[in-house]
């Protein structure tokens, strides 16, 4: 029984990580119809910067118990990269979608060398931080409290984003702009500012996710490129642009991956792609996406 619980928690944990990565991508696409290939780079940036931020904080004597809020703050601080990048993307809004996609691909190339230049080739990690909040252990079942906090963070983000988009006034404006940009503009919505804020929010979601998850793992140079694949798998399954889709997509990928690792270890990555293809055939717009001819 404990083994089942371990596997379940492992799957949910991976789903939480995936959702945090995909949420930023979904938000930006949902409102601005931009597919941000650099979502992995924002995630890696959050991870690297989170490590430096916490190491600096511990040198200043700040108690290790404050690591979680510290990481979240470091993720939010990185929000400053949002507006300039959005400003760059704005210069190609009028043009074909492929130009925006390509611009984010340029970002991926540039960020690759920024990581190596600033943080060097060796993988970086926060070692003492992971178990600071202890481990819950009953019999064979055990899970670090930090993992549960990451899951909680994903749930809070999902709920927060959902509430923000559905209930707040600002959220409605965002959805209106997403639905029909020209109409929103006609109704006096400053779309330019909205896009800047949405893109920054998307970026912050990515960087904070990276910072939050790094204590359980490490930051390495190939992360930015590898994470794009899993984030896209989640988004294709869930449906491009739908936040609920990202949540369900993340859960599906997380759990299927966890169970295939236990029962068919050979299939692991392929299991995820089997789902992606199945969704493409039967629900091409994804489970929650709007089908576009």
């Amino acid at each position: 029984m404990a083994a089942f619980a371990n596997i379940l928690v492992g799957g949910v944990f991976h789903a939480a990580v995936l959702f945090l990565v995909a949420a930023g991508l979904q938000l930006v696409f949902g409102v601005q119809k931009i597919v941000n290939l650099a979502c992995g780079s924002f995630y890696a940036l959050g991870a690297y910067f989170g490590i430096t931020f916490i190491q600096y904080a511990t040198q200043l004597g700040i108690s290790p118990w404050l690591i979680l809020p510290g990481l979240i703050i470091s993720g939010i601080l990185l929000g400053f990269i949002g507006p300039p990048i959005e400003r760059m993307l704005r210069s190609v809004y009028g043009r074909d979608e492929s130009f925006q996609l390509l611009l984010t691909f340029a970002l991926v190339l540039m960020f690759q060398d920024v990581f190596k230049f600033v943080w060097g080739a060796n993988p970086r990690a926060l070692d003492s931080a992971y178990l600071i909040y202890g481990i819950i252990r009953t019999g064979d079942f055990s899970v670090p409290v930090y993992n549960l906090l990451v899951i909680a963070a994903a749930v809070v983000t999902a709920a927060g984003l959902g509430a923000f988009l559905q209930r707040t006034n600002y959220g409605r404006i965002l959805r209106a702009t997403a639905e029909n940009r020209d109409m929103a503009e006609a109704l006096g919505v400053d779309v330019r500012r909205i896009y800047s804020i949405v893109f920054t929010l998307g970026a912050v979601l990515g960087t904070t996710a990276g910072a939050l998850v790094v204590p359980t793992a490490a930051a390495s140079l190939d992360m930015a490129i590898e994470f794009v694949i899993e984030a896209f798998a989640v988004v294709v399954i869930g449906g491009l642009g739908s936040m609920r889709g990202a949540l369900v997509g993340a859960l599906i990928v997380g759990l299927i991956r966890a169970y295939s690792i236990v029962f068919f270890p050979e299939l692991e990555v392929l299991a995820i792609y089997m789902i992606v293809i199945a969704v493409l055939i039967f629900r091409p717009a994804g489970l929650f996406g709007r089908s576009l001819a």
Binding site: N122, P123, A125, T216, V262
Partner: protein
């Protein structure tokens, strides 16, 4: 190559200076054209760290050699290019050989790239020394008995040594075995080699689960859960990239590592990240051909480690030794061939012929070249300890073995060899 009288005089003067500085070697005629060596190493992505280790060790060696007059009187100039995908690396190699006209190419860490580049090396007739990256798959067929290519020890040596030490330390103390290895030829072959050696010594064992995470996976919690469910007595893992410390951290958090025997032949690549918090003592830990804190290391090695630590605030791993061995053995071969030719600069064929059978003192200990152009080097593996003043684990008890005991003889089939070889345990 007509040597003008003027160069004759200046080189004679150089020779005088050299001998004064205790440099034994005194070539009668030294071309003063610098000796250009091409380096091909990863500088981005997941293999950037070992690539950096190799480049730094080569630069250190070149500085030391140039301070003593270079190789056979010629100063060494390094031309560094990046090893990335097989296609791009072949282009960079061609640039080094055809455009930069380097005298020797050294480098290559990835297996895939090494196998792709092999035939190109032979076609280009360019002396090339690999640092790493040759696993059994396809090696025989893709680069059969090379002339210009010198390849590192087979990548399975560390697995063979770990298997032998596992039997030595824990024979009869384990039955269920689990594997978690990177999903590419290196990981696959190491796991298979481990099982083959257990069978060779008919050790009773039962493989309960085999995990194959993709290289660089950052979330291994599900793999750890699967391993825990299988309740193994022993875990064999040749993880060696950034995923290794992540696995240890997540395994420790899940209580997987307590009471389970751990056999990690390639952990040395990430040794500074294997922190004491999550890496237990008594784990079989492979440092391959360079253990930085080896008490009976040579003064050369101690000097290198001290330099590395002072310059980079870090400790080197075996890729540094592989790079050093490449350039040190090249230097020794060139100088020996030059002496044999009475001081004239030796041809590439002379150097190659001298290289075979040559043995040199590398950072991690003795190293030599076999007649099939595969290296023999000294391997170090042992059980981890926390009793040190670093924040990561080092080796408590450890063994040193020469690869002649760990590597199939020239021309033999690896899997057959395991079944028949006389291993000294």
């Amino acid at each position: 190559m007509a040597i003008s009288r003027r160069t004759l005089l200046t080189s004679a003067a150089a020779v005088g200076a050299l001998s004064a500085s205790g440099q034994v070697f005194a070539p009668a005629i030294a071309q003063n054209k610098p000796l250009r060596i091409g380096i091909l190493a990863p500088r981005a992505g997941i293999a950037a760290a070992p690539g950096e280790n190799g480049i730094r060790a080569t630069q250190w060696a070149v500085e030391r050699y140039n301070a003593q007059g270079g190789i056979a009187g010629r100063k060494i100039e390094l031309v560094i290019e990046e090893e990335s995908s097989p296609k791009d690396t072949i282009e960079r190699f061609s640039k080094l050989v055809q455009q930069e006209k380097v005298d020797c190419v050294q480098g290559i860490i990835s297996t895939g790239v090494g196998l792709a580049l092999g035939p190109v090396v032979e076609e280009s007739r360019a002396l090339t020394i690999y640092w790493d990256g040759t696993t059994q798959d396809g090696v025989v067929e893709k680069i059969p008995n090379p002339r210009y290519l010198f390849r590192s020890t087979d990548n399975e040596c560390e697995a063979i040594m770990s298997s032998l030490l596992t039997i030595k330390y824990w024979k009869g103390k384990f039955v269920t075995v689990a594997g978690i290895n990177p999903d590419y030829s290196y990981g696959r072959n190491n796991m298979a080699a481990f099982i083959a050696v257990l069978k060779r010594f008919n050790i009773e064992h039962k493989v309960v689960t085999e995990q194959w995470p993709k290289v660089g996976t950052m979330d291994l919690t599900s793999h750890v859960a699967a391993l825990k469910a299988a309740k193994p007595d022993l875990i064999f893992s040749s993880l060696l990239f950034a995923d290794l410390p992540v696995f240890m951290k997540q395994a420790h958090a899940a209580g997987l590592t307590e009471g389970t025997k751990l056999v990690f032949p390639a952990a040395g690549w990430q040794h500074t990240l294997m922190k004491k918090e999550f890496t237990p003592e008594g784990m079989l830990f492979g440092h391959n051909t360079l253990y930085f804190a080896n008490p009976n290391a040579s003064s050369l090695a101690k000097e290198f480690v001290a330099w590395y630590e002072k310059t980079y605030k870090d400790y080197p791993e075996w890729e540094a030794d592989r790079a050093y061995f490449a350039i040190a053995s090249y230097k020794a071969a060139v100088e020996k061939a030059a002496k044999a030719k009475g001081g004239n600069w030796p041809s590439q064929d002379d150097i190659i012929d001298t290289m075979v059978g040559l043995s040199v003192e590398s950072l991690g200990g003795k190293g030599s070249w076999r007649k099939d152009h595969i290296a023999d080097q000294t391997f170090v593996q042992g059980l981890t300890t926390h009793k040190n003043n670093y924040d990561f684990v080092t080796l408590g008890t450890f063994e040193t073995m020469y690869s002649t005991e760990l590597q199939k003889p020239p021309g033999a089939d690896f899997w057959e060899w395991i079944k028949t070889a006389q291993f000294k345990v």
